[in-house]
């Protein structure tokens, strides 16, 4: 739609023509969506997470459906940073030149692995507008607890990767202790925060008594987690002054608007991309219509405009 509302936002140095982004792991490497709409309409896309070396991911089944959402245990399968840039770099560079900010995501199973993937991505993805580091992976060097599950651990990861890139650095948080962890990330030099990652959950086939995934637990995403995510974005927004990219069950413009009112500067559409492939484009239109309805001239006026 064409309106007089300015939709441009600044996510910690990532200049986006509108606040709509995509959640890592739900948008492939963006090219898969070109058959549904012009992906360059979006303010940004966030690519699937990549490590320095390839990861095989978990065995099948990796996904099951639950009420208003899905559980996944993909295990961050990825080809490694160099192969990622080789296969998708040309397309993503072109997407960037079409006016869509491309955010790449770094993953690791230890602080050192995160360091190596950020370092490599900085080298092989010159077209990237920013690097998001996912601190919701298990830290295999420390018994499998979350890489950034405590403020101390989060600060350690962010401090370790911060000097390795001049690009805007986003940190993607797990849905726990977000206020404290957000503060720790800000103190360690993060430019922006993405939250929330999936919610650790279980689904059991009672007939076979087995998990419906190949592992006992998986990550819950989709509309089921939206109200939780809105609350966490609100908490984080009160805790820090760096901008927030709100993620969690966003499927409509109203869902995105809630995130913005709670304090998010940008909003990522995630699981909805899988079942409604034109969702992110539609969310953009609906969000703009909402801004018009609210009578503002700039979407930035609505960030954190929630009134208790």
């Amino acid at each position: 739609m064409v309106s007089n509302v300015s939709m441009a936002v600044n996510l910690g140095g990532i200049h986006m023509k509108n606040p709509v982004n995509t959640a890592s792991g739900t948008f492939g490497h963006a090219w898969q969506f070109e058959g549904f709409y012009d992906v360059a309409r979006l303010g940004a896309v966030t690519c699937k997470g990549v490590a320095a070396e390839s990861w095989p991911g978990n065995p099948a089944p990796r996904v099951c459906e639950v009420s208003s959402g899905i559980l996944n245990s993909v295990g961050l399968e990825n080809p490694g940073a160099r192969a990622f840039a080789e296969q998708y770099g040309d397309y993503l560079g072109e997407l960037s030149s079409r006016g869509c900010a491309v955010i790449v995501q770094a993953v690791g199973h230890s602080v050192d692995e995160c360091r190596r993937s950020v370092e490599l991505l900085d080298e092989v993805a010159p077209w990237a507008a920013g690097i998001e580091v996912n601190i919701s992976c298990p830290n295999l060097a420390r018994g499998g607890r979350l890489l950034g599950g405590t403020p101390e651990d989060a600060e350690e990861v962010v401090s370790a990767v911060r000097p390795l890139t001049k690009k805007p650095l986003l940190v993607k948080l797990a849905p726990a202790r977000v206020g404290e962890i957000a503060r720790a990330c800000e103190a360690a030099g993060a430019d922006a925060l993405s939250l929330v990652n999936t919610v650790n959950a279980m689904s059991i086939n009672v007939h076979t008594r087995r998990s419906r995934l190949s592992r006992p637990t998986g990550g819950l995403s989709g509309p089921a987690i939206h109200p939780i995510a809105v609350r966490m974005v609100w908490e984080a927004a009160q805790a820090v002054s760096i901008p927030i990219n709100g993620i969690g069950g966003v499927a409509t413009g109203e869902d995105a608007a809630e995130m913005i009112l709670a304090g998010a500067t940008t909003v990522s559409v995630g699981t909805a991309n899988l079942y409604d492939p034109a969702a992110a484009s539609r969310v953009l239109d609906e969000l703009e219509a909402w801004a018009v309805e609210q009578g503002v001239s700039d979407i930035n006026e609505l960030i954190g405009a929630f009134e208790c």
């Binding site: 792991g25 739900t26 948008f27 492939g28 490497h29 090219w31 898969q32 969506f33 070109e34 058959g35 549904f36 699937k48 095989p56 991911g57 065995p59 099948a60 089944p61 990796r62 996904v63 099951c64 459906e65 009420s67 208003s68 959402g69 899905i70 996944n72 993909v74 399968e77 080789e86 296969q87 998708y88 040309d90 397309y91 072109e94 997407l95 989709g222 509309p223 699981t271 909805a272 991309n273 899988l274 079942y275 492939p277 034109a278």
Partner: protein, 272 residues
């Protein structure tokens, strides 16, 4: 292979149900009208949004037995195995929804000019019928083994169409077998396949059915030195390569995507 903006094949289409009827125990046949009909190749699939329960968000991946570009219709046969397919079975003529397609890579026309062997088990029959019609259109000869748990579960209309596709070749054989012997010969498809392999030579084997059956078919084909294509099934998140949920483990230790690299794989490369 490098991705480009033009690599994306899947698009969003509307569809309208023409007919939707039960054709066997637990199995339905739906014909719908959709522009996707002109784009589908045998062995590919579509991801259908099934109305009726907004809390169940994922689309249902469905293979098809025939896509008629001229009539603009697609025929799918499906087993009611969960809530999505149960709601699908409730759709009535005139009902509309959306689908994503074409998804995946389908059957490849086998090299050579010799006879091809098709092996179908259970609800694996529809994509095998699509393969049979592809072979017939290419002037290739084939035999087929079609299996089901019991006669009541066999989709008879598909077997008739399979025989029709094979009819240009008087020497072709279509063998029906059931686990309990209630229709055709008693026994597994792999038993019938082994007998055919002993009698005749084949250029290729194409199979779709339960994983345990396809693993057996792949083993027999490999033992006979015959190239084998298998159409696999996985729980899927999207069907067009966005989520990496439908991985297939390969013998070389790598992992492939069922929705993008498959669903039809070289059976010899799959870690059964």
């Amino acid at each position: 292979m490098k991705a480009t903006r033009d690599s994306a094949r899947a698009h969003l289409f509307d569809f309208a149900v023409v007919s939707n009827e039960q054709v066997a125990e637990g199995a339905w046949c739906m014909v719908f009208k959709s522009e996707v009909a002109a784009l589908l190749a045998p062995g590919e699939f579509v991801e259908v949004s099934v109305p009726g329960d907004p809390s169940q968000v994922l689309r249902v991946p469905l293979s098809f037995s025939r896509a008629d570009a001229e009539a603009g219709t697609v025929r799918i046969e499906y087993a009611v195995v969960g809530d999505g397919t149960r709601r699908l079975s409730l759709m009535r003529p005139g009902d509309t929804s959306t689908l994503v397609g074409p998804c995946g890579h389908g059957w490849r026309l086998p090299g050579g000019e010799g006879r091809v062997l098709l092996v179908a088990g259970g609800i694996g029959l529809p994509p095998v019928l699509a393969a049979a019609e592809m072979l017939a259109a290419a002037g290739r000869t084939f035999d087929a083994v079609v299996g089901a748990q019991r006669g009541s579960k066999l989709v008879g209309v598909d077997v008739d169409l399979l025989r029709e596709a094979a009819s240009a070749d008087p020497a072709s054989r279509v063998v029906v077998c059931t686990d309990d012997g209630s229709l055709g010969r008693a026994g597994f498809t792999t038993d019938a396949m082994a007998e055919l392999l002993a009698e005749r030579s084949y250029d290729a084997v194409l199979t779709c059915g339960p994983t345990v059956m396809m693993a057996g078919v792949a083993r027999l084909a490999e033992g006979a030195g015959i190239a084998c294509q298998a159409s696999l099934e996985r729980m899927m998140g999207c069907g067009f390569g966005a989520c990496s949920c439908c991985n297939v483990a390969m013998r070389d230790g790598t992992s492939r995507s069922c929705c993008m690299d498959g669903p039809v794989f070289n059976a010899g490369e799959v870690a059964w």
